[in-house]
Amino acid sequence: MTEKYGPKGKLIIVEGVDGSGKSTQIRLLEKWLRYIGMPVFFTEWNSSEQVKEIISRGKRKNLLTPTTFSLLHATDFAARYERNIFPLLRAGYIVLADRYIYTAFARDVVRGCSPEWVRHVYGFAVKPDIAFYFKVPVEISFDRIAKNRPKLKYYEAGMDLNLSNDPFESYRIFQGRIVEQYEDMVEPEGFTIVDGTAGIEEQQKRVRQKVIEILPKNTRRNISAGVI
């Protein structure tokens, strides 16, 4: 229905486990793009006003099964997709997404959903123009989170998977499995790998280099001429 009009804008997304540094990088990218005058829209996982409340209620009560967990996140995604992502792409915006469908492909499959099924559910979503994958060894991302957080939430720690009674241990195993899923997607999904252990500035440089390639010609010219 919508697919016959290709979007004019560009979709740039970041993926990676918690503590991989992706959110820092996409926020920096957003600031830069706004600074050089591009029309930008930023969206993040699990943030739709209408759906968020239901998801968090389900999470508080530990009511979610892997299937309902998956479908509610798909509902949240669809709400943002139908309301913002797709219309803004049509209008020519650069849409930046902190986590996209690959987060669901990784998490829901680790939780036990069928990989084909999850991919079908999200089959309506357009492919990103650039998908950055922030690659970090699990021990490092784990340390970054574990040091700053006194407590982990039930689903966040993957406690519903019965991996361990210790939330931090469960989280570590859970994150390891998510990394495996991401690694398997790198090639088929065409992820651009960013070394999440590198310095913040260095990572941002790599990100911008890649993003410049898909900016309009005159913007590119102005950037290389140092005008902006």
Binding site: Q50, V51, I54, L63, A74, A78, S114, W117, V121, G123
Partner: protein, 239 residues
Amino acid sequence: MKKADTSLRPIRYYGNGIPYMEESNIKGTLIVIEGPDASGRSTHIGMITAKLEAEGHAVLNTGLRRSELVSEGIMEAKKEHMLGRRTMSLFYAADFADQLENKILPALRAGYIVLADRYIFTLMARDAVRGMSRRWSHHLFGFSVVPDLVFYLDVDPEELVHRVFQKNTFLDYYESGADLGLSDDMYESFIIYQRMIAKEFRRMQSHYALVLINGNRSIPEVNADLQKRIDNFLVTIQH
């Protein structure tokens, strides 16, 4: 006491099913009654339940939009008309999944006869008339259990509209397809929309083995028809 459950049998799904489900066998029977609002669904389910219980069966009634998890959210979103079509269909799918996993499957495992007041077919028909790909809907509900019997109460839209007005003084926004902009005349919109839905059910008939029931007849007549078919089915699985 009659027994509907003969022995354990593996659950049949429409697609990939629920891979993490440990217990993959059931004893019970799943019977679905589909049909538009005012087609008599709940009346028939009440009568069938009473009869089956009188015969000694354990019966569970379920329906769409009854899950603890998301029903309130759906009601609110519908009232405010603020969610897109895809979002609504995923919302309903989540609600359905919650009921399937937390109510229907446990009851089927325990050997109940589950009488479902609508199932995935209503959701798929609504999506299809709203332009969503049938293939997508079919895959979306790949986690659903294949029912033993699915009845569709087929009522002519002209007959249906009178039944609606016997209950309410107005036509429901969504049941009239008002979101589709079919006509400014609500009556006309209702008729057109119900025809589209009925056509969609006929389209699904052979693929999903739907049993079309002429719902234009009186309640006792339709009920006798349904009872006979259910009794025949229960007899066949007892041997």
